[in-house]
Assembly symmetry: C2
Homo-oligomer: 427 residues x 2
């Protein structure tokens, strides 16, 4: 019998009120406790989740998400939160003095609001590089906060040309945004190259990288590339359940925030309220503004630990994602599939946007794969939604090769094609 | 060996690439899998968490929070989300046509932003009834969105008088806010009575109840009392981990939203983006705006099920919280403790704000209780922070009497007093 069971049982026997009718029940319950949960937790059987996030989670991450009730200001929890902030800096190569990480209950989408609310003032200009659905939505968000937005929109599957970007920078906008991986197209923007263009043509422009589907699956060099904001979420490359907005701001971004002339529009997302909290947890002295998602922070901590201190270095991790991506894309190409990104060089490494072969539609593939316990995602980009589907290959699906996830996906697709009885030729 | 282990192992043996080096490892790992996680999960031994939230969570709730990776738009998940919205209506007695529930990744605090962003326009008037820290902060939030706020502040431990409230209503403000339980004082506002005052003196005024620390521990009759908004969070009476902003809006509140003249300031919190999502999930047809915290929704579902379909009715649940509160307060009074609320009639049933007896301070009690594995909370209200501490008694600590939590707390406090060697007399 475990210690908690013994404690409960002996307490129950000791106490003299509030219990008589329950002794029998608690005894029975305690006797069924045979092990400590966190040591031997194994998740339930389930369909393989290979959409571009949420992804598959490891047993230790899910066990951490089941951490018992814990005070958000307890000495036990404070260093866990602090470690997460420190490990996030490692994952992003964002170790410069003055970088400020934020972990706030919310979603990836909420990161756009953080940028818009804290860095933009009424009428400020932003250039949004649009490589799909998520670029368009980021622009909507900036406009909702009163920014004047110039959209530089690539053709579907492509990225904006250097000429387009340089032209948009002529007005010296306050902000330029890049969607690192737009999951609606599977396009990977050449972020390092774009930042070098900005630094050459409009060095005062802040650069925000929407890396919701890129952090910990694509290389991001925050300090080296001169990024000012990276936005992410937990449920993709970071390998923890959804529910946290993850953000890194540069010293320059924080200076821009601190020298605002207009007040921030909003309260929950106002960095003024969060700076003391994040700095408090990082220093080991928890402070209260709003209750953090304690269990999810434990889960993120477990995942970040495995990313930063696991058997592979970060460089090896990014290389593993590249290899997995090439393996998936090469295998699918051999089967007759095409891809949404116009060129392999601008295709994400953590996901693949796959065009249906001629004569096939979503109904011929997605439900058949689900019957084989493989969950991929339908198309999202309105212009081509019915023409393609999306496969995620991030996190343990890539790094824990013993799981065999990639072959399970590819074998599943191959079987579905075979069972269709149709012949396959490239679209 | 469990089914998942067998599946994995047999898949591993079948597949022909991406695995050779891993067979040994996966075999070893699979052999250690001895059971299905969700059937037999028991949380790890831990200190008893009895702060005014987060609270203790049941094993099934934590197991649900460890649900494997699941798509937010899957046919498995959609009815879970929909059920949560329906059960929330039950818990709040909010069954009228047109009521709109929202479950959005965030915190309780974020509920204030939802009210301010969606219901208020620049210059709109709000009356904030202030019974502690949380009333003051709600006012700050409303002002951040451009509202003109009149604060009706009670003395510490008290509630505003009817005269104060009626006077504040003379200007027919657009909104009046009530903190149902202000956890900084343990004061329970007489919400039903206050709403009757509003309906008599300014019926056009919308009424928002901040019930973060009240939903599912204090009776709330949304329809009968004529409430327009109830704000809550998951980690208190609702018995699930933190990370969700829980909100119910009346038909009248939604009409106010739909007839706004100015655009909503913000994007993530704009109800326009969420209405189709909530209505989609409620109808069983998931839609995407931002990824919901899937695991936490499963946890909330488990907790709401036990609240709405458990052995006790909702009425009995509220009665259990009243009895537990009386038991704690009576026992502490006998030990020589006083309370922050000036009158038992305005003392919360889900928590107790306890004054230290003469000659005792925080250091004499809180760390000693922690050594006995009992975690209570320090004072929060600035004016009296060093004079009191706070005990939470919500959820399974109250309803699962077999746990013996209340006696554990009371015995712990009694032992701490005894071990201090000091004599105790009322402050």
């Amino acid at each position: 019998m475990s210690r908690v069971a013994l404690n409960r049982l002996s307490h129950c026997i000791r106490s003299t009120t509030y219990r008589d009718a329950y002794i029998l029940r608690i005894t029975r319950r305690s006797l069924s406790i045979t092990m400590s949960a966190q040591q031997e937790f194994h998740q339930a059987p389930h369909k393989l989740l290979v959409i571009p996030g949420p992804i598959e989670f490891s047993d230790p991450v899910l066990a951490a998400n089941a951490t018992p009730g814990t005070s958000h200001v307890s000495p036990a929890f404070a260093p866990i939160f602090g470690d997460c902030l420190r490990m996030l800096k490692q994952v992003l190569y964002a170790e410069k003095e003055g970088n400020q990480p934020f972990l706030i209950a919310g979603s990836g989408t909420m990161g756009w609001d953080q940028v818009a609310a804290n860095l933009m003032e009424q009428g400020d200009e932003a250039v949004v590089l649009n490589t799909g659905y998520f670029g368009a939505a980021f622009a909507d968000c900036l406009e909702a906060y009163g920014a004047k937005v110039t959209k530089v929109t690539a053709e579907v599957g492509g990225v904006p040309s250097d000429e387009q970007i340089v032209k948009a920078l002529e007005s010296k906008p306050k902000l330029l945004t890049i969607t690192h991986v737009d999951t609606s197209t599977g396009v990977l923007s050449p972020a390092a190259h774009i930042t070098s263009l900005v630094q050459k043509h409009s060095p005062s422009t802040l650069i925000a990288l929407d890396a919701v589907c890129a952090v910990a699956s694509e290389e991001i060099r925050f300090d080296d590339w001169g990024l000012d904001v990276v936005i992410s979420a937990t449920q993709k490359g970071l390998g923890a359940p959804p529910g946290l907005s993850v953000l890194m701001a540069s010293k320059r971004a924080m200076e821009t925030f601190h020298s605002r002339k207009q007040p921030v529009l909003g309260y929950y997302l106002n960095w003024k309220n969060w700076i003391p909290i994040m700095q408090g947890y990082e220093a080991g002295t928890p402070k209260y503004f709003a209750t953090p998602p304690v269990q999810l922070i434990y889960a993120l901590h477990t995942s970040l630990k495995s990313i930063t201190s696991g058997p592979s270095s970060l460089e090896e991790r990014f290389e593993q994602h590249k290899q997995a991506s090439a393996y998936v894309k090469d295998s699918l190409a051999k089967l007759g599939f095409g891809f949404v990104p116009l060129d392999r060089k601008i295709a994400a490494n953590g996901m693949t946007a796959v065009k249906y072969p001629k004569g096939f539609a979503a109904a011929d593939i997605l439900p058949k794969l689900a019957e084989k316990d493989i969950v991929v995602a339908a198309g999202l980009h309105k212009a081509i939604a019915s023409e393609y589907f999306r496969i995620g290959h991030m996190g343990i699906t890539v790094t824990d090769k013993g799981r065999g996830d990639l072959d399970k996906i590819l074998n599943g697709i191959q079987e579905v094609l075979k069972e269709s009885g149709k012949s396959v030729s490239s679209a």
